[in-house]
């Protein structure tokens, strides 16, 4: 399950959607809006996406993850629009038979999402300026 949403992410529902008795391990990753970045203070973030390509790249990401780990179920949701401090920008839930697989798959999914899925983030700094984020 992949989704882009303008409303707060219900990670509880997302996590429930990947649970099953075939799996002994579930890993959930939440990306949240952090206040401090290299000494600068954020007051909010804006996320913009290219929905039809994002969906295609997320499906490709799932295939790549499934070719490497025995994933039972996976669900990914990314928030778009205006996010306040502490809000959840992305949630990834994955279930596998064993825990090491679930941790590795979860980390792979967020690492790769950040380089391949067409979504962009704009910082709103506390000095009133805004700035599109360049990936590091």
């Amino acid at each position: 399950m992949f989704a882009l949403t303008q409303t707060p992410i219900d990670y509880h529902a997302l996590t429930e959607s990947v649970r099953s008795s075939k799996s002994g391990a579930v890993v959930l990753f939440l990306g949240t809006v952090r206040e401090m970045t290299e000494g600068r203070r954020t007051v909010a973030l804006e996320y913009e996406g290219y929905p039809q390509m994002a969906e295609a790249k997320l499906a490709e990401l799932e295939s790549r993850a499934r070719s490497r780990w025995p994933i039972d179920q996976v669900a990914i949701i990314h928030r778009l629009g205006h996010l306040e401090l502490g809000e959840i920008s992305v949630a990834i839930a994955v279930s596998c038979p064993h825990r090491k697989q679930a941790f590795e798959a979860g980390q792979f999914l967020i690492d790769e999402l950040k380089v391949s899925v067409p979504i962009w983030k704009k910082e709103n700094w506390d000095d009133g300026t805004t700035e599109w984020v360049h990936p590091s």
Binding site: E48, Y50, M53, S89, V90, V117, P118, I119, W120, W132
Partner: protein, 80 residues
Amino acid sequence: MLHVKFFAKARDVVGSSVSEIPWSDGQSVLQLKQALTEKHPGLQPMISRLLIAVNNDYAADDAAIRTGDEVACFPPVSGG
């Protein structure tokens, strides 16, 4: 004509989320980048970092584009 979508800073710079570019089937991604900077000079400083997606996948400079293709232009992604 090629219908090109812009996202993030590329959209801000162009001042619009879409642009119509005169096009002949089979011209390359590199040729599209040249046409985009001619029509929208504000893109010039960032053109080397801009990505072109064709039919929902990243396209290399030598890939050919047809007029019916879904085409987008945007900076490196920064979601998550």
